[in-house]
Symmetry: C2
Subunit: 164 residues, 2 copies
DNA sequence: GTCAGTGCAAACTTTTTGCAACTAC
DNA sequence: GTAGTTGCAAAAAGTTTGCACTGAC
């Protein structure tokens, strides 16, 4: 499924959700959905609010952005993720699964493939839970922070020895 | 490693970190560390600030709480996790790994065992990254929300049929 | 004694709420 | 026409900052 298809599908899902719940299909909602689905990375609510309030065709207020991000969450179109020390919204259809290495030292997040493990996670059976996607977060230290830590520990040891 | 040992170890790590960086080992820092390591669930910064400002022996201000949570993060003693729609701090020594089922419908988080998968994750090799812990988040719908969705979809279909 | 650390209050960022005007249905 | 929706502004929630005083080393 490419990006455009993803948006088309999401639009349809939104329309269904709105109709189902007797809510209205406003231009603001469609513009917001498109903004999120066109971005190639998760977006921050405040940032999105800022961009949307400056739109050419349609100027959307902060309140409307926040209201509809919640609605999109309820509709299963977007979800919140915590990344780079902020809460971001990402489309739910993007990836079935992702493995992220999160450095406890500098906070940097990198993604890795791990195809074998992916397959095993996909095979995991979850009772009474209808799984659609996953995220494996591996915490630790990146090579840079590991090296820095060692340097510091060496200094500490030296300090101790000097005291004696 | 039981809880008390974890705290003792953390205290030592804190002392080392402080000495190494020429920072001071204050009673406030130790009280905060103990508060976090004594809690049996991740804590919210604001909540912790409130509790600590009402302490009997020691009253710790909001600024000090926030300052030191950052310091503890730098020292690798705690980390931020996003849970229940809030950012919480958890001790880093607590769990080597956890599998969480996150419902996109109601937001409920439940943990599962998945021993087989755990072993496989533990065996994962990460190049240039020194892994110490992990969290597998599986997104989807819990049984309750799945049922509710089906009910709604039935209503939608009925609506369509009625129109014809 | 010195300088990092603390408490306090003010500033800032992000999110929520109340209400009048608007519009999709 | 009518209720859901939007925009605005004010309030709330969460976090950071500046500065004078304090206390760990």
């Amino acid at each position: 499924m490419d990006k455009a298809d993803g948006l088309a599908q999401a639009r349809q899902n939104l329309a269904d959700y709105l109709r189902l719940n007797s809510l209205r299909n406003t231009p603001e909602r469609n513009a917001l959905l498109e903004a999120i689905y066109s971005a190639d990375a998760p977006v921050q609510a405040e940032e999105l609010a800022k961009v949307m309030s400056e739109g050419r065709r349609l100027r959307i207020s902060r309140a409307t952005v926040y209201n509809n991000l919640s609605l999109f969450e309820d509709a299963g179109l977007v979800r919140k993720v915590f990344q780079d020390d902020r809460i971001l919204f990402e489309r739910t259809d993007k990836s079935k699964g992702v493995i992220r290495l999160v450095c406890d030292g500098c906070g940097k997040v990198t993604e890795m493939s791990g195809d074998k493990l992916r397959r095993q996670i996909a095979q995991l059976r979850t009772r009474r839970f209808n799984a659609v996607g996953w995220e494996l977060r591996i915490y630790g230290l990146c090579s840079k922070c590991t090296a820095e830590l060692k340097r510091k520990q060496n200094r500490l040891n030296k300090k101790d020895k000097d005291k004696k």
